[in-house]
Amino acid sequence: MKKRGIGIGCMYYGMGYGFSRPDVSSAEVEICEDGSVIVRSGEVDYGQGSDTIFCQMVAEELGIRYDTIQLITADTFATPNAGPTSASRLTYVAGNAMVKASRAIKKTLQSVAEEILGERDLLFLDEEIFSESHPERRISFRQLAKEGHFRGLPMVETAWHDITTKDVNPETGQGDAYSTYAYAAQLAEVAVDTETGEVEVLRIVAVADVGKAINPSNVEGQIEGGVAMGLGYALTEEIKEEGGYLKTRNLGEYMIPTSMDVPPIDPHIVEVPVSSGPYGAKGVGEPALIPTAPAILNAIANAIGVRVTELPANLENLHRLIREKERD
């Protein structure tokens, strides 16, 4: 018999390492003589899209195209030190460093442009710098870069951003754990086969408050990936160890969801800007995953009145709980 249920999971989650653990990032923005822009960051993009949003942020500040920026990352020879890609921190910490470095170099460029154009109400837009009140007074970004170099001005700026918190009182638990928090909620609809213990997740609606989605498509990608990971965590993934030896050693034994297991995912982005984030943005890497298992387990409870308290809620574990309930 297949029984349907709906469940909701919600969460809030600290960005970065928190608890006074060092949490710093850096960025270097260099304007070359020919107007090309080089950005350096120690941070690693392993597919989540930090490279893209770093370029977007620098481009936003300088009014240039984001896809022409030369980005160098994660090279101990060439890039300044930065923290790891973890703790949902890159947009929030490294992004801030990008904005800081961009604004610093923009200040230099602005001062040169003011001198050349004789105006102070300048806008950086579409590869040009021009006066808002007298738009005929304009100079190209490329020309401005050259002018900056001719004047012997520093055309590279490095910025650091630090979100290390003060920590909480170990007795009272009060204080400054994290710099900010992200919020997320998910709804799962499941169909539980009480005869076999199979759980089919029919759909997931996933909402994340990311402050500001610098790249909405990439935020959706994170949400979708996180939900799939949460699905596996809830239903099939299990590390088995016996006497110190790993029994689940490869992908044949450690079962993650396949394309046929992941249900339609309906991602939604909420933007409540956080003042400490770049453009109001905070992170989504982990928030994407956290509400999924609770939502699924709540949906199972709603469907069949069984509370799962140990993961994974796989065939045998769930069926045992179902049988125990039937006996009572």
Binding site: E195, T196, G197
Partner: protein, 286 residues
Amino acid sequence: MQRFQFYNPCSVEDALNFLAEQGERSKIIAGGTDLIPGLRLEEIRPDFVLNIPEINPFSGIKEIDHSFWIGPTTTFTEMVESNLLSCSFPALVRSAASVGGPQIRNRGTIGGNIANASPAADVLPALLAHGGELELQSKRNGKRIIPLAEAILSPYKTCFRSDEILTGIILKKLEPGTRSAFEKLGRRKAMARARMNLTLLLRLNHREEVSELRIVPGAVMPVAKRMDRTERMLLGKKPEPLLIEAASKTLAEEMVEVTGARWSTEYKIPVLKNIFKRMMKQLLTV
């Protein structure tokens, strides 16, 4: 992988000659989806690996009088894409379609599924339910035909001699009016070993009594077999719900008689019963 020599025979005769000499130290490779992981883990250490997919007479699906002949190197994909098989043995084709994923099905073969004799096989138990026969050949003894039911001795062990190759699988056509079903229970919907599978073949006579019933559960016993005590309970009778319920209990008992009580039994007993009842209900609602 322990070093081996690779031999690519150009004909059946060539292969048989080779096995006559080196059979004891050889392993036959078709799709390689079971063999290669075994070689890599050094669970298997042959001196020779004999490659058979290129031997033409080993592939194909043919209708011969009242039977079908399936070549041992027929892949699961080829089984699924075969109109002949899909029409005549839909449950068998379902079992082939349930194996792994597309890449595995494009290489894995029916012969390999038999010869590997895994307790968790999908096609092997379905074949048993369909009463398959195996054609084996060797240089020394020529051709012999054995029932599939006698071929699997224990997990991963067949009765094939070291100088023999499986050269064909023969399936008698099913009587008209035979209904069949195959269900597989896995931990996920693709790329999953069977937690349990069940093949049923059922035929009713004009009085709505069971005139034929074949039940083969897979992945629940070391060696899959027909559950004849359960089958006999229903033969000649009308398959009423109460009788099916009783038969499901016997089915579970027959299974436990073979396996004994193990950690998984508390799951397998109720679930096997449930799947059996569900499939019987579906077969009767045709």
